[in-house]
């Protein structure tokens, strides 16, 4: 079995995925899991692109953000995601000036850097989205309902109740009952992305990987933060989470010098692909576009 996948075959055989995906998926799920979802073969017509932009100067030695460096990283990131030649054109390929844009950062455990939220807000205004049409939309279901476009902006982190707590978990509060997605039920996080007020609105998954957290918590332990100094972005939320998961798992192996599985397993990533159709979790279907600082990229 590969060292790189985070979900064991036992998770499927013991019913974890069977309970949430349905019996029809168990056989395929078990087969995939035996070799690792992340390492499974590419499917025809399925692909995604994930951009990772890093800059060694993004944080100083006390982990403070250099906002000018961050602005450049953000511009580079959205241009690479969209293929546009300028940052303004890139943002306008993602949102319209008439959109009401909801920014969805994470407030807990490893909060999204406010400097990144501010940078996105500035960039959107610079691209022509009126400031009054840009709002923070983390919280109850009424917040995304009032938006026509969403930008998921979680920080990269492991989570003790959901395995990974990044892109797919970013909308958990929209469910109104976040505890229903704990433990193995994290597999169902993808369904929140299909709620009427949410479905189809996410234009970009922009992961704050400036200083990720590689252990689950539940409260942040500074030993498990590290300066990755990166942004990870994709229009495919599942692919963004899959790449983030690879980075977290690689960091955990590096810290302990041995396998250090996430527990509970982050089932939400593969189930968001297999059941909810939100994107791809298979690394064979994901093209990673890396730019900038290359040291210890972990993926």
């Amino acid at each position: 079995m590969s060292n790189d996948h985070a979900i064991s075959r036992r998770d499927f055989v013991r019913g974890t995925v069977g309970a949430v995906v349905g019996a029809s998926a168990i056989g395929r799920g078990a087969a995939d899991a035996a070799s690792g979802h992340a390492q499974a073969a590419a499917r025809p017509g399925r692909s995604a692109r994930v951009v990772i932009v890093r800059d060694e100067r993004a944080l100083n030695e006390t982990h403070d953000v250099d906002t000018s460096v961050l602005d450049r990283m953000l511009a580079d990131t959205v241009m690479r995601v969209t293929g546009q030649k300028t940052a303004n054109a890139a943002w306008l390929a993602l949102v319209r000036p008439t959109d009401t844009v909801g920014l969805v950062p994470t407030p807990h455990m490893n909060p999204t850097h406010p400097e990144l939220v501010d940078a996105v807000r500035r960039a959107l205004v610079g691209a022509g989205v009126p400031a009054g049409q840009i709002r923070e939309a983390q919280g109850g279901i009424d917040l995304p309902t009032a938006c026509t476009a969403l930008i998921a902006m979680p920080a990269l982190k492991a989570h003790w109740l959901t395995g990974i707590g990044t892109v797919l978990k970013d909308y958990i509060m929209y469910s109104g009952r976040p505890r229903d997605y704990h433990d193995a039920n994290n597999a169902n996080l993808g369904e929140i992305w299909l709620l009427p007020g949410v479905k189809g609105k996410t234009r970009l998954a922009l992961v704050d990987a400036l200083r990720p957290l590689c252990d689950k918590g539940p409260q942040p332990d500074p030993r498990y933060f590290w300066d990755y100094k990166g942004l990870i972005a994709s229009t495919d939320p599942v692919a963004a989470d899959a790449v983030g998961l690879q980075i977290i798992m690689a960091k955990r192996r590096a810290l302990r010098g041995e396998e250090w599985p996430l527990s509970p397993p982050p089932l939400c990533v593969s189930v968001a692909d297999e059941k909810y159709g939100l994107g791809t979790c298979r690394m064979s279907e994901i093209a990673i576009d890396k730019a900038g600082w290359a040291q210890d990229s972990l993926v």
Partner: protein, 363 residues
């Protein structure tokens, strides 16, 4: 972004087996408010209605916090967090503390006149027993060991767990002091903040009762199985909830062992000696009744062990079975249960489970 398939439905998955606990708490709160309203409406003298008073301070609740630590100064009173407000304070992390017997949390934040120094946050988790406070520390034995009491090697060495009661790393000090679990964290680590973090913690534990031994069940963990399996004390965790168990070792999606506040349980990790093979895990649990232990074993075998051993009507109280190339062993008697997971062979699974049960039976 790919189109969402039309067949996907927006309905959310029903609540899990525990239901909506927050909702239940809200209902309890509403019942409490209704009761208070009824009491207020009763024709009793006003003085018969008990006034809100701070709980009596037992010896176990004593702490001494300096008002100033270097340039950092604390407020006079803590922010008090209880089981109703813990999720507002720390989101889903509150589950960890409720998974042990949490009473309340006091939070003090020391601030400095210069922003560059950051803050020092002191979190004092008051738990129902020393075992619960120990359990919280046992979730992670990593970090630099700290002797807060200046008593050398700390408490009496214990074969199943490290002998230290305080661990530091990256600006965070975690410690166990009787029925108190503490976290003292500098938002910006520096030599000065480290010194003050340790000074604050030393002040907290100074007047408190000395720690006794770790939970009794951990004294029943076999240190080794012959020359084949060797215990790793830094991977031993005391727990009462499947949430904690699953965060250490993912056993199953639901609470198959029927855990809860009245149950003492531990999970330990063994390394096959000399082979560098994958770890073997041992779970030991003490239940309130033989029926509860038997029910836990039945559920575990039904869900976890394939074939006749798990599905048959008569389940042996002690045996082993192959599960996907690794061996599961179990042994149960009276209120006691021992389960071995991921053993490399049948003999290891059986013998470690039997040894663990024998240790539990030996008082």
């Amino acid at each position: 972004m790919r189109a969402i398939p039309a067949s996907c439905t927006p309905e959310l998955t029903p609540a899990g087996p525990r239901g909506n606990v927050r909702g239940q708490k809200t209902v309890r709160c509403m019942i409490g408010l209704a009761t208070l309203s009824l009491l207020a409406a009763c024709p009793h003298p006003a003085e018969s209605v008990p006034a809100a008073q701070p709980p009596p301070q037992s010896a176990g609740a004593i702490v001494s916090l300096p008002t100033q630590a270097g340039p950092w100064v604390r407020p006079d009173a803590p922010r008090r967090i209880d089981d109703e407000t813990i999720f507002d304070y720390m989101d889903g992390a509150g589950e960890l503390y409720l998974a042990y017997r949490f009473e309340h949390l006091d939070v003090y934040e020391y601030t400095a006149p210069e922003k560059r120094l950051g803050t020092i946050k002191v979190e004092l988790y008051w738990m129902g027993s020393p075992d619960d406070a120990f359990g919280l520390l046992s979730n992670d034995w990593g970090g630099e060991t700290i002797d807060l009491r200046g008593q050398g090697e700390g408490r009496h060495p214990h074969p199943a767990v490290p002998s230290h009661d305080a661990l530091y790393g990256g600006g965070l000090l975690r410690f166990w002091s009787h029925n108190l679990y503490g976290r003292v964290m500098a938002s910006r680590e520096s030599p000065e903040s480290r010194a003050q973090v340790l000074a604050i913690a030393r002040s907290i534990v100074k007047e408190r009762p000395a720690n006794g031994q770790p939970p009794e069940i951990l004294s029943k963990v076999p240190a080794r199985l012959g020359e084949r399996l060797v215990l790793r004390p830094d991977r031993t965790c005391f727990f009462r909830s499947h949430y904690v168990l699953n965060s250490v070792y993912y056993l199953a999606p639901n609470d198959v062992l029927g855990l809860g506040p009245a149950i003492d349980a531990g999970i330990s990790e063994y390394r096959p000696a000399g082979t560098g093979g994958p770890p073997v895990r041992l779970i030991q649990a003490v239940y309130p009744s033989p029926a509860a232990a038997a029910a836990a074993l039945r559920t575990f075998l039904k869900l976890y062990v394939p074939g006749p051993a798990g599905q048959g009507a008569a389940k042996p109280a002690s045996a082993a079975a192959n599960a996907e190339g690794k061996w599961v062993g179990w042994a149960a008697a009276d209120r006691l249960l021992a389960i071995v997971l991921d053993a490399p062979g049948e003999r290891d699974a059986k013998e470690l489970a039997s040894a663990a049960l024998a240790a539990l039976l030996h008082q």
